[in-house]
C-alpha cells in the first residue's frame, strides 16, 4: 500500500538515530514534494546489521528546492534536487 502520492508535500524527519542511515544529514528536517514512487525494497538500514530487511520499505523520489536546502543558495528559485527517501523517514504535511 502506498503511503504517499505524487504531489504530496512531505517533511523529511529531523531525526538523528545512530548507525547506518540512508537519509543524508543535510536533508533532514527539509520539506519537498513527492515526485514519484520508486517501489518497495528491503530496508538497507536493517540489512546493514545482518537482519533480513523486512518489512520492505517504500522508496519515494522527493523533489526539494535548492533554496530550501541551502540558505545562501544564489541560483534560481526553481532549481531543485531529487533524492530517494524511504517511507519511514517521511511525514506528510498540510492537507
Amino acid at each position: 500500500m502506498m503511503m504517499f502520492s505524487v504531489g504530496d508535500r512531505v517533511r523529511i524527519k529531523d531525526s538523528h538515530p545512530p548507525g547506518h542511515r540512508r537519509t543524508p544529514y543535510y536533508v533532514r528536517g527539509k520539506t519537498g514534494v513527492v515526485e514519484r514512487y520508486c517501489g518497495d525494497f528491503k530496508n538497507p538500514e536493517e540489512l546493514a546489521y545482518g537482519f533480513d530487511g523486512t518489512p520492505k520499505r517504500e522508496l519515494y523520489r522527493v523533489r526539494i528546492t535548492q533554496t530550501e536546502l541551502w540558505p545562501d543558495y544564489e541560483g534560481s528559485d526553481s532549481d531543485t534536487l531529487d533524492l530517494e527517501i524511504y517511507d519511514h523517514w517521511l511525514e506528510k504535511i498540510g492537507e
Binding site: 538523528h16 547506518h20 543524508p24 544529514y25 538497507p44 546493514a48 546489521y49 545482518g50 536546502l69
Partner: protein
C-alpha cells in the same frame, strides 16, 4: 548526533583532484575479494557501507581501498569467520613466499 564522517553533503570539501591514476593491483584484488565475499553471502553491500562508516577517523582517512580492506577485516571478525591476526598472519606468509 552530529553529521558523521561519510555523510559529507554540504561540507567544505576543498579542491577536487581530477588527475587520472592507474588502479594498483592490490586495489583490484580488494575489489575482487569484496565481490567474492558478496557472492558467497559473507558480506552484503549494506554491511560494507556500515563497516566503512564506523571506521575510526584515522582509518577512515586512509586510501579508499585501504578503507575497504579494514572494513572487510572488521566484518570477518564480527562474523567469527577470521580474526585480524589470521588475516595479517596469512599476508605475512604470502609476502615471505613472494620475496623468498
Amino acid at each position: 548526533m552530529s553529521q558523521r564522517q561519510h555523510d559529507m553533503g554540504g561540507m567544505q570539501a576543498g579542491p577536487i583532484e581530477s588527475d587520472e591514476h592507474a588502479a594498483e593491483p592490490w586495489a583490484k584484488m580488494i575489489t575482487s575479494l569484496a565481490a567474492a565475499m558478496r557472492d558467497h553471502d559473507i558480506m552484503r553491500i549494506d554491511e560494507l557501507r556500515r563497516a566503512l562508516e564506523d571506521l575510526p577517523e584515522d582509518v577512515y582517512s586512509k586510501d579508499y581501498f585501504e578503507r575497504w580492506s579494514e572494513a572487510m577485516v572488521n566484518l570477518l571478525e564480527e562474523k567469527g569467520l577470521l580474526t585480524r591476526e589470521e588475516v595479517m598472519g596469512k599476508m605475512d606468509a604470502l609476502k615471505a613466499q613472494l620475496e623468498g
